[in-house]
């Protein structure tokens, strides 16, 4: 079922650091944002200043996730 999937995105320097822009995982083994990171990066250490979002809102690493969610990881923002 495609809606059981959790989509994971990496942006900017973090995408280059982890070597991928997009990943997927399933709800059954991924309950929080940090678990999604560990799953998608094969337990790489997360850079200290990493920002996290679920469904395009900022969250903390312990934030719960569910099927259909989009989880994103990125470095501090530098627009403007």
């Amino acid at each position: 079922m495609s809606n059981a999937v959790i989509t994971i995105k990496f942006f900017a320097s973090l995408r280059e650091h982890v070597g991928q822009g997009d990943a997927e995982t399933s709800e059954s083994d991924t309950k929080t944002v940090i678990e999604a990171w560990n799953k998608a990066t094969n337990n790489m250490a997360m850079p200290e200043n990493t920002l996290m979002a679920v469904n395009m809102d900022y969250v903390e690493a312990t934030h719960p996730i569910k099927a259909g969610d989009e989880v994103a990881f990125f470095p501090p923002v530098t627009g403007g």
Binding site: F11, G79, G80
Partner: protein, 142 residues
């Protein structure tokens, strides 16, 4: 209240005039505060030839809308406009336009400052600089 992401060069003053001409606050505003941010040809002591701006499609727009609504809730303003570039740009190219219209100057000044500061700290954009022989991500906003 409008936000725009542009993937090609734009002329901020022309966009400002177009927006103002079509707006519904004609006759009501006594103040317009405008901020334009442009690309420098130097950063941290190095020459920068090209800058590439990346964003998170969807979340960037969501946060620009969110901060625009916050400004409208905090101050008595008539309207606001944010235009932001993404993609490759060259020195002198405009990066961002923020404009706020209000009846009196204090609200326009304060709300435009708020929009710029919140944009820089919360909107997901990232700058990558091309130097003469290297590229690097900008790590923190000044």
């Amino acid at each position: 209240m409008l936000i725009e992401i542009k993937d090609a060069p734009f002329e901020p003053y022309q966009r400002l005039l177009e927006y103002q001409a079509a707006a519904d606050f004609s006759g009501k505003y006594g103040a317009t505060a405008v901020f334009v941010g442009s690309m420098r040809e130097f950063n941290q002591g190095d020459d920068v030839t090209v800058m590439t701006l990346e964003h998170y499609p969807g979340m960037t727009e969501k946060y620009l809308q969110k901060i625009s609504q916050e400004a409208a809730d905090k101050w008595d303003i008539l309207d606001s406009l944010i235009v932001h570039r993404v993609g490759e740009m060259l020195p002198n190219d405009p990066i961002v336009l923020v404009a706020v219209w209000s009846a009196h100057r204090a609200e326009a000044f304060d709300a435009s400052r708020y929009l710029m500061e919140e944009l820089k700290s919360r909107a997901p954009f990232w700058k990558k600089e091309s130097l003469k022989e290297d590229t690097r991500w900008v790590e923190k906003n000044t």
